[in-house]
């Protein structure tokens, strides 16, 4: 039970190597056999993973048109619960499994940087992890204390239970200590908020951030595929497939997990804005 975390990484490693083989095999094989695969794969959970799942789903459907993949964006918590209860074939979580979440196995399929974003008009370009922590806990209240404008800091974040929030708070070390000015329930809402409020700072999935806001460098490191992959950009989290231990998996589910963890999926994951595993 305590080995849950290590369990994750080991299975991930195993999964990815195996997947590489089988997907290579699949593409080498006659496409008529692949068409025979059919069935339903129910996935659900993390909302941050929506784009990634969407991309995987679209590509998978091209090879296996008879496999029907569903996705419910109910949040990481619900994804893990769904997998545990067996109502989902694959639970989606944008955080590692916690110690008390037993009976399921997590398989990392990608990484996601958590970008720290501010309004475009904000002169600040870089923050240290410590500064970030001080902002989050409300220790620093004015941008001028960090060399910016004389304006109150508006710290916006996500609701309790969000994988993004969990990732941010645990890495920055401010769990349970954040003083939010506003809690929004979705990534897009955070970006919109930061875009419309000149004094706002927030965090959002790297995959979703666009030009409408400014992404800060953290300790001089900008989030990007490389920095996330090599770990030099600290604020990041995994995208995890959660499956129930000991449950009978259909061929379709197995093939999909293999496909998602294969090298073929990298391009798709990139297209969805996330970072493929190294």
């Amino acid at each position: 039970l305590s080995g849950c975390g290590s369990n994750n990484s080991s299975s991930t490693a195993a999964g990815s190597s195996k997947a590489a083989d089988s997907s290579a095999a699949a593409s080498a094989e006659d496409s008529s056999t692949s068409k025979e695969l059919s069935g339903k794969i129910s996935t659900g959970g993390s909302t941050s993973m929506e784009a990634v799942i969407g991309a995987l789903q679209e590509a998978f459907a091209e090879t296996y048109p008879d496999v029907d993949i569903t996705y419910d964006p109910t949040g990481s918590g619900a994804g893990i619960t769904g997998a545990t209860e067996g109502s989902l074939d694959i639970g989606l979580s944008s955080r590692d499994l916690k110690e008390d979440e037993t009976g399921v196995t997590g398989t990392k399929i990608a990484l996601d940087g958590i970008s720290i974003i501010v309004n475009k008009d904000n002169p600040i370009t870089d923050l240290s992890l410590e500064d970030l922590a001080r902002i989050a806990t409300g220790e620093v209240k004015n941008w001028s204390e960090l060399g910016g404008n004389d304006a109150e800091i508006v710290f916006v974040g996500r609701e309790a239970g969000s994988g993004t929030r969990d990732g941010f708070e645990s890495i920055v070390g401010v769990e349970d200590k954040c003083v939010y000015s506003e809690e929004l329930t979705a990534t897009g809402a955070v970006i919109a908020k930061v875009q419309s409020n000149p004094n706002a700072i927030g965090y959002a999935s790297l995959s979703a951030v666009d030009e409408s806001v400014k992404t800060l460098t953290i300790d001089k490191v900008a989030p990007s595929e490389e920095t996330v992959q090599d770990g030099s950009y600290a604020i990041q989290r995994p995208f995890v497939f959660v499956t129930k231990d000991g449950a009978e998996q259909s061929d379709a589910v197995k093939t999909f997990i293999e496909f998602a963890t294969s090298k073929d999926a990298d391009e798709l994951i990139r297209a969805a804005g996330a970072v493929p595993l190294a």
Binding site: S42, G44, T47, E50, A51, G54, A55, Q57, E58, A59, D68, T70, Y71, D72, P73, T74, S87, L184, T185, A186, T187, G188, A189, I191, A192, A208, D210, L268, A271, A272
Partner: protein, 283 residues
């Protein structure tokens, strides 16, 4: 002649009325105008007919439109017989005054329950207990309960408006109750039932909180009707929530908002037309 304070009070009252009316109209014009101003330019045939795709980087709202239609269709299909049946029971069959009062009270109660509670109970009952998962079916069933009072009430009103003399006439010919209901009462109250449907459609189209927890957020065009109902799907309102607040695609969101506004407008006009027709007929 009028005292000064009386003149003043009169003036004040009148001013207040005009100011309030002006505020209301400003709000009306402001909201409707702003949504249309932001949304209409984004609305394109391309958007309406496309399926959104991450890999191809295509925005589209076609699945949402389709889902909305599916949800309307099945919900009405279930709620209509139930609601009309309940209304017929109340006006034609029920003899026990206490029972009638209890049913009417519960109907009022249903009408007052907020959608978030429908969402939760729908999730517990349909998605989890009955095992429908997040699916259009579960969403439809939740909406059935939500729109039941609307159908019951409008049908009941129009049933009451059917003259007793029609029923007496048919009874005098030896017709049974069900026959009278089928051949005379229901046909004469068709207008009211249609109005009820239109109002229900309005509620269904605008619903988001209840559907979010029960119907999920699929954006795929299903191959078969059966498949469509058995998997999750977003209606336009839910899609508006998701595209705006989850994906941050505000251009698409505004387009959906404008589309919704137009749909609501059409629904209202339809309801008005039916009402006007009924009024003319009653005269």
């Amino acid at each position: 002649m009028k005292s000064k304070s009386r003149v003043l009070k009169n003036g004040l009252r009148t001013t207040f009325v005009y100011v309030a009316a002006a505020i209301t109209m400003a709000v009306l014009v402001g909201i409707i105008g702003y949504v249309l101003y932001k949304g209409v330019p984004e609305l394109s045939w391309q958007l309406i007919t496309s399926v959104p795709s991450v890999t191809k980087k295509v925005d589209g709202i076609f699945p949402y439109i389709l889902n909305t239609l599916y949800v309307i269709l099945l919900s009405l299909l279930i709620v209509l017989p139930l609601g009309v049946g309940a209304a017929v029971y109340l006006t034609e069959y029920a003899r026990n005054k206490h029972l009638i009062r209890v049913i009417e009270f519960t109907t009022e109660t249903l009408a007052g329950i907020p959608s978030i509670i429908y969402g939760l109970v729908g999730m517990l009952v349909f998605c989890q207990m009955l095992g429908f998962q997040s699916s259009l079916l579960a969403g439809c069933l939740t909406l059935v309960v939500m729109t039941l009072p609307t159908i019951i009430r409008t049908t009941q009103e129009s049933l009451k408006a059917v003259p007793v003399s029609y029923r007496e006439g048919a009874l005098g010919l030896g017709a049974t109750k069900w026959h009278i209901v089928r051949t005379i009462v229901l046909p004469s109250s068709a207008d009211g039932i249609i109005t009820g449907c239109i109002l229900a459609v309005g509620r269904i189209v605008g619903e988001s909180a209840a559907l979010l927890f029960t119907a999920g957020f699929g954006k795929i065009v299903a191959d078969t009707i059966f498949e469509a109902y058995s998997r999750s799907g977003a209606t336009l309102s839910v899609a508006l929530y998701m595209t705006a607040f989850e994906e941050g695609k505000f251009d698409v969101a505004w387009a959906i908002a404008a589309l919704l506004l137009v749909i609501v407008l059409i629904i209202n006009l339809a309801a008005r037309a039916v009402r006007a027709k009924t009024r003319k007929k009653n005269k």
